[in-house]
């Protein structure tokens, strides 16, 4: 088998395969779990080399993903990241050095991996996902995501679901997504419209409940409450004209001192500079080990999808999600997350989800609740009913015109059982709810 392969490859002009000896052993041999119709050898190798793949994020996971894909035989890799390198990235983002602080992550990462792994082409884009359109995303065979933002994940997910055209099988782009927090993480594979999507799984990543404003303002109990007070209330009151910059040490120091003073007034111990930074920047602990595990799991699935060398996660009707916990021994739970029939993004026809509401709450309260609801998490919603516009964030004129509705009760604005459609600039889709009065 190996002999016939090298013969045919040298015919096709590829003399570099000695470098890929280990990878080719797998690509050249069927295994006990490979499909009976799978053809090892040249087809598999060329299919892999031709797969154009997009990596979203060049941070902790992204650095790992780029390295892994380059050493898995992918030749044409694109990477998107809008961030620049910070000194606190260096404990895990191993493609960056101290001298790179301040440069764009995507640029530096692409150059580094291209230099190390000869023959791979990495095309960086230093900007936002949202700058790119469907035509851009259509060029890729699949997309691997290593992000720390739920919004960005939801955006790419909705975009990919929207791109699926039943008459064109190439329009369905597998999305492989990884995420970590401390010693925990997950890797999941999504085949848009065929398997459960990011939006179906949103409630698995519920945001932490916010501390009520009245607690911050009048009855703080925890050091974090004092820091949030300094962050949300004191800054507005005393330094309104200065835009708070989370990366400016003077700003953090100011917040820290304010928080410390408030804590002393209430006899609350425990405010530190590091905690202030953590609360204000919403810092999530991150280490190289967990990133390595989750990124490699994602790339292992990408490799299997591109080569069929073994069954992959996400085949409809099989497992599509691996949950990982590493703080107490090592534990993984691999399962099938099922599609939500009323998913606002991937369900057919985008049917309205029934939502129980108290008719006495105001539109403002309803919208605030929507921002915190695990399955919605909409931060800047605009809402209209079947009959009229209820509230629009933009344009200014419409905002002013609809603003008075915010203080009206729901019962004054909609009928029991009426459908509302909500849009949010963060998502290319609309969310429909059928409001049922409690």
């Amino acid at each position: 088998m190996t002999d016939t392969l090298s013969a045919s490859l040298s015919e096709s002009g590829d003399t570099q395969r000695t470098r890929w000896k280990y990878l080719d052993t797998i690509l050249n041999r069927p295994g006990p779990f490979t499909d009976e119709e799978w053809l090892p050898g040249v087809m598999a190798i060329e299919g892999l080399s031709r797969s154009k793949i997009l990596v979203i994020g060049a941070g902790g996971l992204g650095c790992e993903i780029l390295k892994n894909l380059a050493l898995s035989g992918f030749k044409d890799i694109h990477v998107i990241d809008m961030d620049t390198i910070d000194v606190s990235n260096l404990n895990r983002q191993f493609l960056f050095r101290h001298a790179d602080v301040g440069s764009y992550k995507a640029d530096v990462a692409a150059k580094f991996v291209e230099k190390r792994v000869k023959g791979v082409k990495i095309t960086p884009y230093c900007g936002k996902l949202q700058d790119k359109d469907e035509e851009y995303y259509m060029q890729f065979a699949m997309i691997v995501c290593g992000l720390d933002s739920i919004e960005a994940r939801r955006w790419i997910n909705a975009t990919l679901v929207g791109m699926v055209d039943e008459d064109n099988p190439d329009s369905m782009k597998p999305l492989i997504d990884g995420g970590t927090e401390g010693f925990k993480g997950q890797a999941r594979v999504i085949f848009p419209t065929m398997t459960s999507c990011i939006e179906c799984q949103l409630d698995m990543h519920a945001p932490r409940a916010a501390v009520p404003l009245c607690t911050l303002a009048t009855i703080p109990r925890q050091p974090q409450h004092c820091i949030e007070w300094a962050h949300i209330i004191a800054w507005e009151e005393e330094r309104k004209d200065i835009t708070l910059d989370n990366d400016d040490p003077e700003h953090i120091t100011w917040l820290y001192q304010k928080a410390l003073k408030r804590a002393q007034e209430f006899n609350i111990p425990g405010v530190t500079y590091s905690m202030t930074q953590g609360v204000v920047k919403n810092i999530i602990p991150a280490i190289a080990s967990t990133n390595a595990i989750v990124a490699a799991s994602c790339c292992n699935e990408a490799f299997k999808i591109a080569t069929n060398t073994n069954p992959f996660l996400g085949f409809p009707g099989t497992n599509n999600y691996m949950m990982y916990t590493g703080d107490e021994s090592v534990y993984t739970y691999t399962f099938e997350h099922e599609r939500k029939p009323d998913c606002p993004v991937c369900s057919e026809g985008n049917l309205a989800r029934p939502l129980q509401v108290d008719p006495k709450v105001t539109l403002q309260e309803f919208l605030d609740d929507l921002a915190e609801r695990p399955e919605a998490q909409l931060k800047k919603p605009s809402i209209r009913s079947e009959a009229k516009s209820l509230y629009y964030q933009t344009p200014v004129g419409l905002e002013e015109q609809t603003r008075p509705n915010l203080s009206k009760k729901l019962s004054e604005l909609v009928e029991d059982g009426e459908e509302v459609a909500i849009t949010d600039p963060a998502f290319p889709t609309q969310f429909k709810y059928k409001l049922i009065f409690k």
Partner: protein
């Protein structure tokens, strides 16, 4: 700004660089990492060991040394990220060491290119290392000598396989590996002692619930839920012969009582503090009984007999054991979850718990000082260590480290006291015990095959003839399995036997398919797992794998087995 204290010293350069990890293991964990010197004995394609080291160099271990006598070949460049074209023909140890050093200027890297066989025969070759990583394939006699060293020097030894889509690692820890700082999940482990309140806590509850029914809406809605529960418990006891709710049925009845006591005429239609009280009933009304594993620690021989040179863990454990014998409970940990309450009430409650925790700690400390005198110990244990121990006493862990299997040519593998339990899990659906057995069989093949007749490098299955080697390794694996079933006197019926044998055959075939090749993804993932365990072991924080972990990259699953 004038009313603020003078500017503070911001974080140091090091604190900035390591910020995201210091939030996990803190300054003490970081110091432990910086004091370590890790040795990697590398072999095969040599990727998984380096991927492990990468994740240790980044967070800042003190020193590492790579032993590897291989010369960089073209094939390395397609799988190893730390080698590039200009390194071809040079020593792999030297170039990978240099590439890793680039990742963190604070880490010292060293390398050894002498063949492992002769290098290990030098006296004190291993003396300076605080932890050893060794990757397969390796000759069994060498692995045995490393295992002997680990046992004698009481240092951790990791043995790692990474073959195709599969991987495995085993950890040989010292026979007593105690952990105080296990980082339990705070939300699920709060210990409020509601069933064993002390007088000051009861006084607090009485004070805050004085005239509860006549309190204003504002006051009523701010009574801390702990006070509410204690108040209602006292009421309940009056009607139940002085007994608190005993079982699920009584607890739900009690919960109902608390729920009904909430006022519903408020703007929100309920009271948050009562909601919190109701939610806490089932998890907080349990007797504060230490877990079996903690009680086992008190009974351990090292704990029962404290000596002049006992590690401080045992001295403190002994003292806490005495405390438990005397009171039937562990020292109060002293932390209180956040709850709806006025600032001053909450701080007062926090102080009730903190004072009790300090009082309990003082008693433990007194026994420790007595023990130190009677055992004639030269240095006193620092108070902060005693405090940390008391705070987490309910969650301390003791791992009984032991050597892992070293497969010797032609010898039957012995499973000892683990035979029965492992033989039983063999037939569980999704069990990865068969994959572990496939790795043992792979090692048996390596132990009996050489690349040439000169006793040079060992040969791994599937390098040239996967079909023949598969058959051989499957045969070895079946025998290992039969021996295990026999040793564990497990009842495995014919169907189960056939099912597991078929699984074994699949695992072996997939292993042999790789012909000893590493896939970069699997090496990176396994390097992530192994490095995480190294960090836990060095920092003595969190809970390490006890003692073997296998990963199946075909189905993306892991299993931990104690062998």
């Amino acid at each position: 700004m004038s009313d603020l204290p003078p500017p503070v010293q911001g974080p140091t350069a090091k604190e900035k660089k390591y910020d995201r990890q210091l939030r996990l293991w803190g300054a003490t964990g970081q110091i432990a990492l910086e004091d370590s010197h890790i040795l990697l004995i590398n072999s095969g394609p040599g990727v998984v060991g380096l991927e492990t080291l990468k994740n240790l160099v980044l967070p800042g271990i003190g020193n590492f040394t790579i032993q590897d006598s291989a010369v960089v070949s073209e094939a390395d460049l397609g799988v190893n990220f730390f080698l590039e074209e200009e390194h071809l023909g040079g020593y792999r140890a030297e170039h990978t060491c240099n590439s890793l050093k680039e990742l963190n200027p604070d880490v010292q890297g060293h390398f050894v290119t002498e063949p492992v066989e002769s290098w290990l025969t030098q006296p004190d070759a291993l003396k300076q290392y605080t932890l050893i990583l060794v990757t397969a394939p390796i000759r069994p006699e060498l692995l045995t000598s490393l295992s002997t060293h680990a046992s004698a020097a009481l240092i951790p030894l990791f043995y790692i396989h990474c073959v195709g889509f599969y991987s495995h690692f085993s950890i040989h820890l010292p026979p007593a590996f105690p952990i105080v700082d296990t980082h339990p999940d705070l939300e699920t482990t709060t210990d409020l002692r509601l069933l064993k309140p002390w007088p000051e806590l009861l006084d607090f509850a009485t004070e805050k619930t004085q005239g509860l029914d006549t309190l204003s809406a504002e006051d009523h809605g701010h009574v801390p839920y702990i006070a509410l529960l204690l108040y209602h418990l006292e009421e309940w006891k009056k009607e139940h012969d002085g007994q608190a709710p005993q079982n699920y049925k009584e607890k739900t009845a009690f919960r109902e009582t608390v729920s009904k006591a909430a006022r519903t005429n408020s703007a929100e239609g309920g009271e948050e503090n009562f909601d919190e009280a109701v939610a806490a009933v089932l998890k907080s009304l349990n007797p504060p009984e230490p877990s079996g594993s903690v009680k086992d620690i008190f009974k351990a021989p090292e704990c029962v007999l404290v000596k002049k040179d006992s590690p401080s863990f045992w001295v403190i454990a002994h003292a806490i054991g005495l405390f438990y014998t005397k009171y039937g409970v562990l020292p109060v940990p002293g932390s209180v979850p956040d709850m709806k309450a006025r600032s001053a009430d909450y701080i007062q409650l926090q102080n009730v718990y903190k004072s009790k925790a300090r009082k309990d700690m003082a008693e433990v400390l007194e026994s420790i000082r007595f023990l130190e005198r009677t055992a004639d110990r030269s240095t006193q244990i620092e108070e902060k260590h005693v405090e940390a121990f008391c705070k987490n006493a309910a969650h301390i862990k003791l791992v009984r480290g032991r050597p892992f299997h070293v497969v010797q040519a032609g010898e039957t593998i012995s499973w000892g006291d683990r035979a029965k339990s492992i033989a039983q899990t063999l037939t569980f659906p999704d069990s990865l015990v068969p994959l572990y057995i496939a790795f043992l069989a792979w090692d048996q093949f390596v132990a009996t095959h050489d690349k040439d007749a000169l006793g040079g490098a060992p040969k791994v299955p599937g390098e040239t003839d996967p079909d023949t080697d598969s058959e051989k390794v499957t045969g070895i694996a079946s025998k290992i399995m039969d021996d295990l079933v026999k040793e564990g006197s497990a009842s495995v019926d014919e169907d189960e036997d056939a099912t597991v044998k078929a699984q074994l055959q699949d695992f072996v075939q997939e292993l042999v398919r790789a012909g000893g090749a590493e896939l970069h993804n699997i090496a990176a993932l396994t390097g992530g797992l192994a490095s995480q365990e190294v960090i836990k072991v060095i920092t003595e924080q969190y809970v390490p794998v006890d003692n073997t972990c296998v990963f199946d990259g075909v189905r993306s699953r892991t299993m931990v087995i104690r062998v």
